[in-house]
């Protein structure tokens, strides 16, 4: 859970402001771009699962729809020989917790007779600033393992973004990976081209098919999908923006999103609030460094008017674990007097009793400090430096 929450700190730290899609959503996009997928139906109840299995014809696979990996190992993917069995499997899987994600939907799909499992992906290689295809015939397993133990089996090919995809690239991937069957070669090369179209057409950060299967009849199909879309492109892709499952987020994080605050819950007692992702990450680090445990990562962002501060405090104090709050603000675009006003407004509106340590520097810092001093609230403590502020907040959290 902690690792999972912190992975989202990385997102907040701008690693990947992105929209992750469910398997069934990604497969629908694959289908639209001409990549073969199995027939399936979405179900939110065991009865729906049974009806879907009836309609599709058994055997079927019942697959948990969650925005995390490791579903199979967690028991979230099960085979069913009859519609009644599909109903039972859906009953087991719905409501299951998989790495902190509750299963609300299952995808019912015709079971496939699998002869071979391959892996194909395209992602943004930020290191060389180009899209990168990766393909291997050793699919269906942990691909990081393949990359580590048998790197030669993983074929990589970059695409020049100014030239785009060319058909030779599909052939190159197929031949270099050692696919020998002409039917497979032809189908996979075509899928490579379609995957590039999906990647560009949806402005994706990642399109991954693992496994890409060859059936006993020699047909190549995408059996799974990991599809991640660039948040920054959603303004012109409303049909993709609609795919976001707001209910899948942690309730506090959903509240934060609604309020326009970047918030990630962590597991400690010191609420951390900063402006800018880098400074906020650094503040979380420093709180840890001086012996405290951060309760959250909360970034006010570039602006940070008084109302934004009130909203952020509302989100942070919704977490009952919080014992003290550390405001670490370096004003640039953000004005420290606005932040001070927000703190005072929140104290009044929310009747906050928690100790709040405030460190203000940069734009209008003197005005901000003066406002706080004048108000004279007994639970607000001014500190001059980031390090001293972190120490004070940790002390107050321990004393509370």
């Amino acid at each position: 859970m902690l690792a999972h929450a912190l992975e989202r700190v990385c997102e907040a730290g701008r690693l990947a402001r992105a929209l992750d899609l469910y398997e069934f959503q990604g497969k629908e996009l694959f289908r639209r771009f001409g990549i073969p997928v199995s027939d399936g139906r979405l179900a939110t109840s065991p009865a729906e699962a049974r009806a879907a299995a009836q309609e599709l014809g058994c055997p079927v696979v019942v697959k948990a729809q969650v925005l995390t990996g490791g579903r199979g190992k967690a028991g979230g993917i099960k085979l069913a020989e009859t519609p009644v069995e599909a109903e039972g499997r859906a009953h087991e899987i719905l409501g299951m917790d998989i790495r902190g994600h509750t299963v609300h939907k299952v995808w019912i799909e015709r079971a496939s007779d699998i002869a071979r499992e391959y892996y194909l992906s395209i992602t943004l290689d930020r290191s060389v600033k180009r899209p990168l295809f990766m393909f291997t015939t050793e699919g269906g397993v942990d691909i990081e393992e393949v990359a580590a133990t048998n790197p030669g089996a993983l074929v990589r090919l970059h695409v020049d973004p100014l030239v785009g995809f060319r058909p030779w690239q599909g052939k190159r991937l197929v031949y270099d990976a050692g696919v020998s069957d002409p039917g497979e070669q032809r189908q996979i090369a075509a899928i490579v081209g379609s995957l590039y179209d999906a990647f560009v057409g949806c402005e994706a950060m990642l399109c991954e098919i693992n496994p890409l299967i060859v059936t006993t009849d020699g047909e190549v199909r995408a059996l799974d999908s990991k599809f991640t879309v660039d948040d920054n492109a959603l303004f012109r892709r409303p049909e993709l923006a609609e795919l976001r499952d707001v209910g899948a987020a942690d309730p506090l994080e959903a509240l934060a999103r609604e309020k326009g605050v970047t918030y990630v819950k962590l597991d400690g007692e010191v609420g951390v609030l900063g402006n800018g992702a880098g400074l906020t990450m650094s503040t979380v680090d420093v709180v840890t460094f001086v012996g405290g445990r951060p309760a959250n990562f909360c970034d006010l962002g570039g602006g940070g008017d008084a109302q934004g501060v009130v909203d952020a405090l509302e989100v942070i104090t919704n977490d009952p674990q919080v014992r003290a709050i550390f405001f670490n603000i370096f004003g640039g675009i953000t004005r420290c007097d606005e932040v001070a006003r927000g703190i005072l407004q929140a104290l009044e509106q929310m009747r906050l009793q928690l100790p709040i340590v405030v460190r203000l520097d940069g734009t209008n810092a003197d005005e901000g400090r003066a406002l706080l001093e004048k108000a004279g609230a007994s639970n607000v403590f001014a500190e001059a430096t980031m390090l001293d502020g972190a120490r004070r907040a940790v002390e107050l959290a321990e004393a509370a």
């Binding site: 912190l6 700190v9 560009v200 920054n232 990450m281 420093v286």
Partner: protein, 290 residues
């Protein structure tokens, strides 16, 4: 000397007539930057506090000799603004705008590098050469002129470290915020090369954060190409590696992207890495005094 912006900079502001562009454009001018033009389509002929506005970058360059552009236009139009600036002969483009789609940056990055021009950003605080010119939103009053080059992926964290340096009596040659997006115009390595060649710069601080492998590449560059001492700070230590959707990201670069991996890569190349911003500034002070 200093790098990227100085007293020779003739700045045009794309989006000068917008509220952010106007505020920061005029603030940059008040600092002493030569702000020679604004560009907003359909507003050519207007003025913003005495700065002439043109419809196109080409017209602005012809009329005013602008050589640097700062971009404040909204995200949907920012990539086009960058293309226009480069096509019109601007040699240094600084894009402040946040939220430029990554796929547009893929093509733009390839275009920029084919043209041999410099792009800083997008989603960055800009470039400040204390005492010479400020292009962007960096609060100049917290920095002093001096010998320390500072390059960072973060905005406010840059201010924090700059402030800590100032507290210790140290100043900066140039502060460059390269931006935190997955694809930006200039990397740590690009900026380190400029600092290495700049006579005013005697020490360099790089401020990195989790994700990507730019810090690891910087470490290799520092070892093989740089004679000047470098100190680093990395944010995100308490964010251990998580499992993200899909696995392609983790295996591309061979780096896990964690703060610890970056620290290890830098220290293996002899670069000292501060645990806190305060300690980082102290490490720089030690370099200066020896």
């Amino acid at each position: 000397m200093a790098i990227l912006v100085d007293t020779e900079t003739r700045l045009l502001v794309q989006g000068l007539t917008g509220s952010e562009g106007r505020f920061h454009g005029l603030r940059n001018r008040a600092y002493g930057t030569q702000v020679v033009a604004g560009v907003t389509p359909a507003k050519g002929g207007q003025e913003v506090d005495g700065v002439p506005v043109f419809d196109t970058v080409d017209a602005a360059v012809r009329e005013t000799g602008a050589n640097t552009s700062m971009i404040f236009v909204p995200a949907p139009f920012a990539a086009d603004a960058m293309y226009e600036a480069i096509a019109s002969g601007i040699g240094t483009v600084v894009c402040i705008t946040e939220g430029v789609p990554a796929h547009e940056m893929l093509e733009l990055h390839a275009y920029v590098h084919a043209r041999g021009v410099t792009l800083i950003g997008p989603n960055c605080p800009g470039v400040l050469s204390p005492g010479k010119a400020n292009v962007g939103i960096i609060p100049a009053e917290i920095f002093r002129e001096g010998s320390v080059g500072l390059v960072s992926r973060s905005g406010t964290l840059t201010y924090q470290i700059g402030h800590e340096l100032t507290q210790l009596g140290l100043g900066n040659s140039t502060i460059v915020g390269i931006g935190g997006d997955p694809i930006v115009g200039s990397s740590f390595v690009d900026v380190l090369a400029l600092f290495e060649a700049d006579p005013q710069t005697e020490q360099v601080v790089i401020v990195g954060e989790i994700g990507g492998d730019e810090e690891e590449k910087a470490a290799a560059f520092i070892e093989s190409e740089m004679s000047k001492p470098v100190v680093a700070y990395i944010a995100g230590f308490t964010a251990p590696p998580g499992k993200t959707m899909g696995h392609a990201g983790a295996i591309i670069s061979g780096s896990s992207g964690t703060a610890q991996a970056k620290k290890d890569a830098l220290e293996a190349r002899g670069v000292r890495v501060g645990t806190t911003p305060t300690e980082t500034a102290r490490l720089v002070a030690e370099l200066v005094s020896t």
